[in-house]
């Protein structure tokens, strides 16, 4: 019996070998860009072309990082990306959960119809709206400001998606909780703030990650609305730097590491939430 079992396990292990080979190969391919990025970011400019390629740079040139920071207003790009993403996230969570609660729980005339209409606009490609939006923003003097990058995602397609996610969550909360509070004479706003919002923490966490990442990585909108260097977000600044710097790869890689590393660290501590949050894109299209 035991021999049989271990033979089975052995066979299982051997059968898993091709699986592990595939998984290892794909994982290595996924990691190489990051390793190479990190390695190049610490190389002397001359070492970049050295053959055979060296993974561990010698000497290690930390100065690449300070070079990047002094050669461009990197702290501004960083700050722009962080504060825009933070405002978009806060705004989306607030307005989307408010509307999501109303759609899920308040019976009001036209609610379902409006919800369906909102839902159907989620598939409108941003690229179609971008041209009139550019002219609109120009007319109200918002070009080359951060306002379109903050306002459009909160109240546009991103907000609509948030409503959908929050509504689905609120629908799953038992009605009894609310009814008890209603009998006690609580107003809708109070029920929303003191009962529903605290319950919605998991859904909000997912929405926060999704919204923050979408804003943080957004490229098309900043490209259209921002001209001044000081106002650029990280992705836009990096893309401009790519075209300007030609082949100073070591500096470009230092900048890329600085733009990527903080998020990667957060990701490793909250993987489950991140994967859930990003997978919501699957619902979106």
């Amino acid at each position: 019996m035991r021999a049989n079992l271990s033979a089975k396990r052995l066979r299982g292990g051997a059968a898993n070998l091709p699986h592990y080979t595939v998984l290892m190969a794909v994982s290595v391919i996924m990691l190489i860009p990051f390793v190479w990025m990190l390695s190049t970011s610490l190389k002397e400019p001359a070492d970049i072309f050295v053959f055979p390629p060296r993974l561990l740079p010698s000497p290690i040139r930390w100065a690449n990082y300070s070079d990047v920071i002094t050669s461009m207003p990197f702290h501004l790009f960083y700050w722009n990306s962080v504060y825009i993403a933070a405002l978009v996230t806060a705004g989306t969570v607030f307005f989307a959960s408010l509307a999501g609660y109303a759609f899920a729980r308040i019976p009001f005339r036209g609610g379902n119809l409006v919800f369906l209409m909102l839902l159907s606009t989620m598939m409108i490609p941003n690229e179609v709206i971008a041209i009139p939006m550019f002219l609109f923003m120009r007319d109200i003097g918002w070009i080359n400001t951060h306002l379109p990058l903050i306002v459009l995602p909160i109240f546009g397609a991103g907000g609509v998606f948030g409503v959908f996610v929050m509504r689905q969550f609120f629908l799953s909360i038992p009605k009894e909780l609310e009814e008890a509070a209603m009998i006690d004479g609580c107003s809708r706003m109070r029920i929303y703030l003191t009962i529903m919002l605290p319950l919605a923490k998991p859904a909000i966490a997912t929405l926060v990650i999704f919204t923050f990442l979408t804003s943080w990585n957004d490229f098309f909108d900043p490209l259209i609305f921002i001209n001044d260097r000081e106002l650029m977000t990280l992705p836009l600044a990096l893309s401009m730097f790519t075209n300007e710097s030609g082949t100073s790869w070591h500096l470009l890689m230092s900048a890329s590491v600085m733009a990527t590393l903080p998020l990667l660290i957060v990701f490793f501590f909250a993987q489950k939430q991140f994967i859930e949050g990003v997978s919501m894109t699957g619902l979106k299209e």
Binding site: T40, L118, I275, E285
Partner: protein, 312 residues
Amino acid sequence: MSSMERLETGMARRRSKKKASRHSRGDHLTGWLFISPLVLGFILLLLVPLGMALYMSLTDWPLLGQAHFVGLDNYTSIISDQEFWTVLGNTLYFAAGLVPLNIILALLLAVLLARNIKGAGLFRTIIFIPVMTSLVVWSIVWKYMFATDSGFINQLLQLIGLTGPSWLYDTRLAMPVVIVTSLLKNVGLNMVLFIAALQQVPVQLYEAARIDGAGRIRTFFTITIPMITPTIFLTVIMTIIGSLKVFGQIYVMTQGGPSGSTKVLVYTIWEKAFKLFEFGYASALAYVLFIIILLLTLVQWQLRKRWVLHES
């Protein structure tokens, strides 16, 4: 019943009715109040621009000055423009390359990881990292990996005595490079969606298949695939839509070159609108994209509706 009593019950009824209607009127107001910021945004930032883009596509809208109504001129010139067909062809080439590779690789990885083998969590995490990395950063790094002289790929090739091509400067190779870069960026997303779907398949089905003596490959094609077909279809459509909108990696890696070989639809829309300021033509082009995506979305909704009904 005395008239007094009748009066009282009538008043009570009226009162309770009044109370109920006041309550629902309150709900009505609160409901609209709660959704009003988003409804306003939806009208001003989605519906109006959508209509506006349609109108602009029927004009010769310039950067400054008066626009003239030109009817369908923009659309007819798109159709007769050789560049449009090249661009559409490039976009379809990208989609045709990316979608099957993405779905097959994602499915393969999901099947390998759904069975909770040792280290599954770690592999899943690693494969998912590019999904949350900025597309711009990912494209920059791969542009560097494929650089002709100092790129990692060509240095590897040199190690085994080969001279690598100048990938992104070769009209035949640039698009495949962009496709591979995009594949690696996004395969983790579909993988995660497939893992979720695979974990929904009832274990009893697999057990029954094993008792019936079905092998692994047979089980995969007769049980696994049919059970997750809804997810596969939805993922395929989602990936097609995504690939029709490809922009960032093209902008960073090739700028549409060499000699237009990677120029895709959205890149052309961006170029026409925001570099050449031909807003009318660009809007018409954007509407062509919109209609293609609309059709795909309708197919998707139809499928989703059928499957949801089917499941319940």
